[in-house]
C-alpha cells in the first residue's frame, strides 16, 4: 500500500507542468466590425496552417419538412460563385498543395483548408467569396441532390448500424432538433428547392454567425489583418433567434426493439439525456460526467472491460462515452455486444454498473487513474493541429465558448469521489434513459 500511495502522490505534481504549458494565451481572439469572430491558435511545429470557418447552423436548426437542408447546403457551397466557377475552388486549393473539405453536424456547418502556412491568404479569399457570393442554380442542385441521396444510402440505408442509429436518435431525443438525422430524411432531401437553399444562405451565412479558426504556423496579428482584408467588407446581417425547447419534462424510460434483416449480431445502446457544457447549471457537472465515462471505459483496465468483458464475460465488447460539446443537452452513452446473443444479460450488467456508481463512491485509486487519463489525453490532443482547431470551433458553435478549453484541467482536478457519485445519482436516472436493441430477425424471437 505504501508504494502505491507514493506513486499516486506524484501524479498531480507531474501533471501540472505539461498541461499548464497549454495556456489560454496561445489562443488569440479578434472580432471584426461586421461581427465575425476570429480565433488563432499558434503551433509552429511544421510550416502548415489549418483554416476552418464555422457557421452556427446545423441539422438541429431545421424544422419539419426541411431536414437535411444544412447538409445539402454544405454540398452546394462547392458549386461556384460569379468569380470562381464550379470546381475552381477545389482546383486552386489542390494546385497550391492544399486539401479541403467540409462537414455538417447537428450544431454547425464547417469548411476547411489545410495548406502550407504561406498559402493562407488563398484559402481566406476563396472562403470570403463563397460566404457572400454563392450562386445556387437548379441544375447543380439536382445533380448534388443525387450525390446526397447516394451518401444517405451508403451511410444509413444500406447498413444495419445506420438503420438502427437513425431509429435510436428519433426516440432518444423527443421534441428536439437532435431527433432527425443530420443528412435528413430522404423524402425531405428529395423535396428541397433552390428557394429553400437561398433562404438558408441568407439566414445563416453571414459574418456575425461565423467563426474563423486558424491554427498552425501563423502569427495572430497577421491572421487578423488577412481576415479584415478578405472578410471585413462583407456587410453585417442579423441572424434569426433560435428557439429550442428548454426545461422539457423528463420523457420517461423508452425502449426500442429493432429487428434487422441483415444484422448478424445483436447490439445494445443505452443513453441518458444529460447536460452539456452549454446547458449545465453547475459548471462542474459535465466534467463529472466525463470522469464517470472514464471510470467505466477509460481503457481496458476500467470497469466495463474488467467486469462485463473479462469478468462475467456477458459482453464481447462494452463501452461508455459522453461528449459535452453539443448545443442542447447531451447523452451519456453505453453500448454492448453480447458474447453469446444474450442482450438482456448485457443490459442488466450495464444497469448494475450505473447502480454501483450511484451507491458507492469510486476508490481513490480509480479516481486518480481516471484523472490522469483525462489530463494526459487532453495533452495528447495537442498533437493534431486540425483537432485543436476543431475543438475551438465546436466549443464556439455549441455555445460553450473556446475559453472552456483553458478551464479543463482545473475542473478535472477539482472533482472528488463524492462529486462523481452525486452526478451519477442526479443524472443517470431511468426517466432520462433510452434503451435500444438491434436484433437479427432470426434471433431473440422469444423475447
Amino acid at each position: 500500500m505504501t508504494a502505491r500511495h507514493a506513486i499516486f502522490a506524484l501524479i498531480p505534481a507531474l501533471m501540472a507542468a505539461p498541461v499548464a504549458a497549454q495556456s489560454d494565451s496561445e489562443v488569440t481572439e479578434f472580432t471584426l466590425d461586421n461581427g465575425m469572430q476570429v480565433l488563432v491558435r499558434e503551433d509552429h511545429r511544421a510550416p502548415v496552417v489549418v483554416s476552418q470557418i464555422w457557421y452556427r447552423v446545423g441539422s438541429s436548426y431545421e424544422g419539419r419538412g426541411n431536414t437535411g437542408l444544412s447538409h445539402l447546403f454544405e454540398h452546394m457551397m462547392f458549386k461556384g460563385t460569379e468569380e470562381y466557377a464550379e470546381g475552381e475552388f477545389s482546383e486552386i486549393i489542390s494546385r497550391e498543395g492544399g486539401r479541403l473539405n467540409a462537414f455538417t453536424g447537428r450544431d454547425f456547418s464547417a469548411y476547411f483548408e489545410i495548406m502550407a502556412a504561406d498559402r493562407l491568404p488563398i484559402a481566406l479569399e476563396l472562403e470570403a467569396d463563397r460566404m457572400a457570393n454563392l450562386q445556387i442554380d437548379s441544375e447543380a442542385l439536382s445533380t448534388e441532390r443525387e450525390v446526397v441521396l447516394e451518401e444517405r444510402r451508403l451511410r444509413t440505408e444500406d447498413r444495419p448500424e445506420g438503420r438502427f442509429g437513425e431509429r435510436y436518435a428519433a426516440i432518444a431525443n423527443p421534441g428536439t432538433g437532435y431527433a432527425h438525422p443530420i443528412i435528413g430524411w430522404a423524402d425531405d432531401v428529395a423535396g428541397l428547392t433552390v428557394d429553400d437553399l437561398e433562404g438558408w444562405y441568407q439566414q445563416w451565412y453571414t459574418p456575425s454567425n461565423a467563426t474563423l479558426v486558424v491554427a498552425g504556423d501563423v502569427e495572430p496579428e497577421a491572421v487578423y489583418a488577412l481576415a479584415r482584408e478578405y472578410f471585413g467588407g462583407i456587410p453585417a446581417r442579423d441572424v434569426p433567434v433560435v428557439h429550442d425547447p428548454e426545461n422539457l419534462d423528463p420523457p420517461g424510460e423508452r425502449r426500442l426493439i429493432y429487428r434487422d434483416e441483415q444484422a448478424r449480431v445483436p447490439q445494445l445502446r443505452m443513453g441518458y439525456e444529460v447536460p452539456s457544457f452549454a446547458t449545465a447549471d453547475a459548471a462542474r457537472d459535465p466534467y463529472a460526467l466525463l470522469m464517470l465515462a472514464t471510470i467505466l471505459d477509460g481503457g481496458d483496465g476500467a470497469r466495463l472491460a474488467e467486469t462485463l468483458v473479462r469478468g462475467s464475460g456477458v459482453a464481447a465488447a462494452a463501452g461508455a462515452g459522453y461528449n459535452p460539446m453539443v448545443r442542447l443537452d447531451g447523452e451519456f452513452s453505453l453500448f454492448g455486444v453480447p458474447a453469446d446473443g444474450d442482450v438482456d444479460a448485457v443490459e442488466e450488467a450495464l444497469r448494475e454498473e450505473i447502480g454501483r456508481l450511484q451507491r458507492q463512491t469510486v476508490s481513490e485509486e480509480e479516481l486518480e487513474r481516471a484523472r490522469s487519463q483525462l489530463l494526459a489525453d487532453h495533452l495528447f490532443e495537442l498533437d493534431s493541429v486540425f483537432y485543436q482547431a476543431m475543438q475551438l470551433g465546436m466549443l464556439e458553435t455549441t455555445g460553450a465558448g473556446w475559453e472552456t478549453l483553458g478551464a479543463f484541467e482545473e475542473n478535472v482536478r477539482a472533482l472528488t469521489a463524492e462529486d462523481l457519485q452525486a452526478a451519477a445519482q442526479r443524472y443517470l436516472r431511468p426517466e432520462m434513459l433510452t434503451v435500444g436493441i438491434m436484433q437479427p430477425v432470426d434471433q431473440g424471437d422469444e423475447a
Partner: protein, 420 residues
C-alpha cells in the same frame, strides 16, 4: 522540411529509428514486427489473433493489471496488425517518472505474453462476432473478394482477420508458437518520436529489445503472381446500392514504377474532389457520393483499385465511366493541365504529411520496415517533379493491363448479373 531521423541497432539486433521533437512533452513508441497476416501460413487470422492477445496477460499478471499499469500514468497502448506487420504502439508523457515504468510494462508484456486459455477463448469469440457482423457490410464483402481475386494463392489473398472456419480452428498453441517465432528482437523495428534526447531513446530501445527473445529472420515472402485473365466476381447482397471495386496488383515498395503510377493514380482518382473520377462520377453525373482510386505498395506487390458505390439502376453507367476513364488515361496519357495540377498538389502538400508526431511515427515506421532512405519523402517529391505525361502513360500501360483487371460487384443479384 525533412525529419531528422537517427538510426542505430540495439545489442540484440533490433533496428531503431528516432526523431527528436521537443515541442510537446509526449513520446510515441512503436514496435513493428514482420508478423503480419502474410505469415499466417494457412491459418488465416493467426497473426491478428496473436496481436489481439498480446496485452491479455503474462505469467505474472492478468489483462486488467497490465492495462491499469499503463492507465495510471495516462499512457495509451494499442496493438494492430495488417498484411505485412504486427505493431504495438505506445503514447505516453515524457517525464522519466511517468515514462520509465510504462516502458518497463511494455517490454514485459510483449516479451512475456502468456496467452491465458480464457483470454484465447474470449478473443476468438470476439473475432468470430466481428466476422459475423462483417457479413452485413457490403464494403467488407467487396474488399475480401477483391483481395482473394487479385492475389490468388499468395498469402496476401487471405483476410488478415481470418474467416469463420479458420478462426474457429486456431488454438492457443498456434498463437504461442507464432509469438515465439515472430515477436523477436531481430525481427523488430523500433521507432521513437518525441520529447527525448538520444541517450534516453537509446536506453528505451535497449530496454525493449533486450526483453525480446532471439530468433531467426523470417524467409522472404513469395512473389505475387499477376492474375492471368480479367475476371468479374459477383456477390449477391440485398441493398439499394452496388459496391464496385476494379483493379489489380500494383508494385512493391521501392519499385521505380511506383512514382509514375502514384502520379497517374492521383490524376485518375487519388487527388480528392479534383480528380477525374470524382469529377465525372460525382460532380457531373451525381452517380455516387464517393468515387476514388488508390495505389498501395508493400513488402510485395500492393494494389491499384478504383472503388465506388452507386444506386443499382446506374451500375452500368458507372462501370462505363470508371473503366473508360482509366482506359482513356492509359491510351492517351494525362492532359498537360491535369499533369501539372497533380504534380503541384503532390509536391506542395509535402509539409502536410509531417505536421504531427503521430504522422511522423507512421512515416518513419514505413521507412524503417521497408529499408527506405531517410530522405524518402524529399526524394519522392523530386521523383514526382521529374515525371512527364509519357512516363505516366507508359507506367499505366505496363502495369495496369486490362487483360488482368479484376472487377468485384456486391449488390442485388439481378443488378450484378445485368452488367459485364
Amino acid at each position: 522540411m525533412e525529419a531528422d531521423i537517427q538510426e542505430w541497432e540495439t545489442e540484440s539486433g533490433s533496428q531503431v529509428l528516432f526523431v527528436e521533437r521537443h515541442e510537446l512533452p509526449i513520446v510515441d513508441v512503436r514496435l513493428a514486427f514482420d508478423a503480419g497476416s502474410a505469415r499466417d501460413d494457412g491459418q488465416a487470422g493467426l497473426a491478428r489473433m496473436t496481436s489481439n492477445l498480446l496485452l491479455e496477460g503474462t505469467t505474472e499478471r492478468n489483462a486488467g493489471e497490465i492495462a491499469r499499469e499503463f492507465e495510471r500514468y495516462g499512457a495509451r497502448v494499442s496493438t494492430d496488425s495488417g498484411r505485412d506487420t504486427g505493431q504495438v504502439s505506445l503514447r505516453a508523457l515524457s517525464e522519466a517518472e511517468r515514462l520509465d515504468p510504462v516502458i518497463d510494462n511494455m517490454a514485459d508484456v510483449i516479451a512475456n505474453a502468456d496467452f491465458p486459455g480464457d483470454a484465447v477463448d474470449r478473443v476468438r469469440q470476439q473475432m468470430l462476432l466481428g466476422l459475423q457482423q462483417a457479413q452485413s457490410s457490403a464494403s467488407s464483402l467487396a474488399e475480401k473478394a477483391f483481395a482473394r481475386a487479385i492475389y490468388g494463392d499468395h498469402p496476401y489473398a487471405a483476410p488478415p482477420g481470418g474467416t469463420l472456419e479458420s478462426v474457429e480452428a486456431i488454438d492457443r498453441q498456434a498463437v504461442v508458437d507464432f509469438h515465439r517465432r515472430y515477436y523477436t528482437a531481430n525481427n523488430a523495428t523500433i521507432v521513437i518520436v518525441g520529447d527525448l534526447d538520444r541517450a534516453r531513446a537509446e536506453a528505451i530501445a535497449e530496454r525493449l529489445s533486450a526483453a525480446l527473445p532471439d530468433g531467426e529472420s523470417p524467409e522472404p515472402l513469395p512473389e505475387v503472381k499477376l492474375p492471368e485473365t480479367a475476371q468479374t466476381v459477383r456477390l449477391p447482397f440485398e441493398a439499394e446500392q452496388t459496391h464496385v471495386i476494379i483493379g489489380q496488383p500494383s508494385v512493391r515498395q521501392g519499385s521505380d514504377a511506383y512514382y509514375p503510377l502514384y502520379l497517374g493514380n492521383h490524376i485518375l482518382g487519388g487527388g480528392g474532389l479534383t480528380s477525374i473520377l470524382a469529377e465525372r462520377m460525382r460532380e457531373e453525373r451525381g452517380l455516387s457520393y464517393s468515387s476514388s482510386s488508390r495505389i498501395t505498395s508493400g513488402a510485395r506487390r500492393g494494389r491499384f483499385q478504383m472503388a465506388t458505390q452507386v444506386r443499382n439502376d446506374a451500375l452500368g453507367e458507372a462501370l462505363e465511366v470508371m473503366r473508360g476513364s482509366l482506359g482513356e488515361l492509359r491510351d492517351q496519357g494525362p492532359s498537360a493541365e491535369r499533369l501539372d495540377a497533380s504534380k503541384r498538389n503532390i509536391t506542395g502538400s509535402f509539409p502536410l504529411q509531417l505536421d504531427s508526431n503521430r504522422d511522423l511515427l507512421g512515416y518513419v515506421t514505413s521507412i524503417g520496415f521497408h529499408d527506405l532512405p531517410h530522405d524518402y519523402l524529399q526524394r519522392f517529391v523530386d521523383r514526382i517533379d521529374g515525371l512527364d505525361g509519357d512516363d505516366v502513360q507508359s507506367a499505366l500501360q505496363t502495369h495496369l493491363d486490362p487483360a488482368r483487371s479484376v472487377t468485384v460487384l456486391v449488390g442485388p443479384e439481378a443488378t450484378i448479373n445485368g452488367v459485364e
